[in-house]
Symmetry: C2
Subunit: 404 residues, 2 copies
DNA sequence: CCGCTTAGTAAATAGAAAAAACTAAGTGGA
DNA sequence: TCCACTTAGTTTTTTCTATTTACTAAGCGG
């Protein structure tokens, strides 16, 4: 979401009504099967208010009624669930080596996905191709019959705050791209909320927002691919993405880990990316740009020079994770990106270092959950779709008016 | 503020009323001299609603009317200001070398302050002394005649999230201290909101919250003293403090800058604090614990070994600042703590490094405002007082009911 | 002096949630 | 089977808040 801090919050009755409808929808989304009575308790609203709110959400197709609950000595409540048949969310990621597209339900379940390999080209050509692919995706059966709520695009670089501009994508060679504007002419009939964000931030958002049950208070997604980026989201009810004044929050690949170290493409020395990233591994092992890094390395994991290179990179990754722990201290860390496919030779040293040191300061034994995503292909695209949904439920999107 | 994420937000009419009153108060606090009409425009409320809200805030002593504004072809509006005569906020910082106390107005103006030097002792003894000093502070003329809204305590270590427990204060030798509970018996008659937070987080909060006019969207306060800590606040209307799941957010002193480097007191190697901190400078120059670091160094700034030590420490500080820029990317950085008194020999290299590298990634010339606080003695204490006010205006404190 | 503009207040209205009273639908015990 | 009891959910009435509309207040400029 490229939107940011609104003016000071005040509101009228209409605002209050919508706030409460959003709260109801959000509660059911996070805890499927709640009854009206449960909602009334948790949201601190009266049964009457909840009843009216649920009714209109049912009427508009956001919710559906489920089975009767077990009785505990009284009338059993009726379970409520998201109505996942009605709407669809579109998400896409523009990556260095390809386009990833998803169409998913309100619960984040991917209905259809598509991965198109391609070599980096201009924003205009990319937008045209993405437009065609999205158009094709929308023609597929499970998507076509649903109402589309909007489209989110994840991009590999910092996004300007408050306006949808990709400031820089070093690995694509792009700068100051208004990608949504380029895409719009190719999808003239796609209504709903359109937004774009950095891929790691979208991924982080989706990982938190589509979670049900026990929801962490904050989450950092570390994207380890050609470069290294991260995204932090905070707040379990409406996750807030940390962007920074220039969109540079989470650019952990350019934190300095080795003052006076190797030169980075950014011009500084000793950046984390000079130690751990797709390009630093290529450079260390002399792997050409044309070859697929992962495919060329997977058969060579036993070779000593590969092992040494990956171990060193892994140690640097471990330092990055620990530094994240001591600066953001998220409730959960999710590690994704193409490099995770290299497995233990890279990740072993990283996780070992992190686990060995994460409790030094407090002297406790609490472990911060750290999950490695093996296949992170569609995570960012799905996250961008999540951001669309959130902007409708919590934001100022007109689509939120259908709650009434 | 040691409170965190509430349950999902829904509300009744009372909640709405209070939200709007808070918004009005907040607008006047941030922009003194607004008229009712200005507020109606900015808060998107009608004149009637604003009029009623202002009236009750006037009645309760939160606001006062000021002079008539210049007319622009119609009836001139009446300026509104915070009523600073009515209330007082108390803040205190427990530091390694002393206790700092302030009493300040709603606008953050310090009415009375006190700095008590002392050597670290037990939490119990410290609480008793602080209780006496606060009691004395409250007897002073400008404080005594006002209604006290509460007390905020800033402490030099990570605070547990959601509960007021100081988990660890390495430089005091404290662990798991419920400081408010220890203090309570010594101030039985002090009503209002009590809270505690980490000193860098309190400082950051205060620096943002008491700002008027053009308010940054986020701010990081870096506290460079015996150790190095930082606090980040985000959101210009209600600043949100990043705490982390264990309260470790902002512990930048324990980010690793030199893998395999010197041993830190935390047991890890190459922490930032081994390169730049009060204790690392003491260690490098052989300055005993009993001596005051700053006083012993100020006359020696010309000595070559001192210069080399401070330059190296400064360079490490510069790396820390740059890493902050690439992880949080705050709108503004404020650098405080006792080490800033060492001036150019330490700060020169730090600021040079930061300024030389902060624009590498985007290739722009935008400078992130970086302000060095020469005398940061009462910043954290004042920030803790700010947190008290914020918890009343925006939070669930009963004192917020006086808005009606 | 008078039309015009803007600030602020007062009275009437609309609309939201709450409160109270109700119906619905189960339990369990006699 | 009946019936007291419990909990879920709805309907009706009431309360409360912001809005709307109409008004008064107070300046400007011709």
């Amino acid at each position: 979401m490229s939107t940011s801090n609104q003016q000071h919050k005040a509101g009228d009755l209409h605002f209050l009504k919508r706030l409460n409808r959003s709260a109801i929808l959000e509660l059911v989304r996070r805890t499927p099967g709640l009854t009206r009575a449960d909602i009334a308790t948790q949201a601190q609203l009266t049964k009457a208010t909840v009843g009216a709110g649920v009714q209109s959400l049912l009427n508009q197709g956001w919710l559906r009624e489920g089975e009767l609950q077990k009785s505990s000595g009284g009338r059993p409540g009726r379970a409520l669930h998201l109505n996942e048949e009605q709407h669809v969310l579109l998400g896409a990621e523009v990556g260095v080596h390809g386009l990833r597209l998803v169409a998913c339900t309100l619960a984040g379940q991917v209905l259809v996905s598509h991965h198109e390999h391609l070599v980096p080209t201009t924003p205009e050509v990319t937008a045209e191709l993405l437009g065609e692919l999205l158009h094709a995706l929308m023609q597929e059966a499970p998507v076509k019959k649903r109402r589309c709520l909007g489209l989110g695009i994840a991009l590999p670089g910092p996004i300007a705050p408050n306006k949808p501009v990709l400031r820089l994508a070093p690995n694509l060679g792009w700068r100051d791209v208004r990608f949504l504007e380029l895409l719009r002419p190719h999808l003239p009939h796609l209504e709903g909320t359109w937004l774009m964000d950095n891929e790691a931030k979208s991924a982080a958002f989706g990982e938190l927002y589509f979670r049900t049950g026990n929801i962490p208070e904050s989450l950092v997604y570390v994207s380890a691919g050609t470069g290294i980026g991260s995204g932090m989201v905070e707040g379990s009810h409406l996750p807030l993405v940390t962007r920074g004044i220039q969109g540079l929050a989470g650019e952990i690949g350019h934190t300095v880990l080795q003052p006076g170290g190797l030169y980075c493409h950014c011009g500084n020395r000793g950046c984390a990316e000079t130690l751990v990233s797709g390009w630093s591994i290529r450079a260390a092992l002399g792997i050409a740009e044309e070859e697929d890094l992962i495919e060329s390395l997977l058969p060579r994991l036993d070779e000593p020079d590969v092992q040494v290179t990956l171990r060193r990179a892994g140690e640097a990754l471990g330092v990055l994770l620990l530094n994240l722990h001591h600066t953001q201290n998220p409730s959960e860390i999710v590690l994704g990106g193409s490099l995770t496919q290299l497995g233990a030779p890279l990740l072993g040293p990283a996780l070992d270092f992190f686990k060995a040191n994460q409790n030094r300061l407090l002297g406790t034994t609490q472990q911060v959950p750290l999950r490695v995503v093996q296949d992170s292909t569609f995570i960012a695209a799905r996250g961008a779709a999540a951001q669309v949904l959130a902007s409708i439920i919590h934001g100022s999107s007109d689509l939120g008016d259908t709650f009434f």
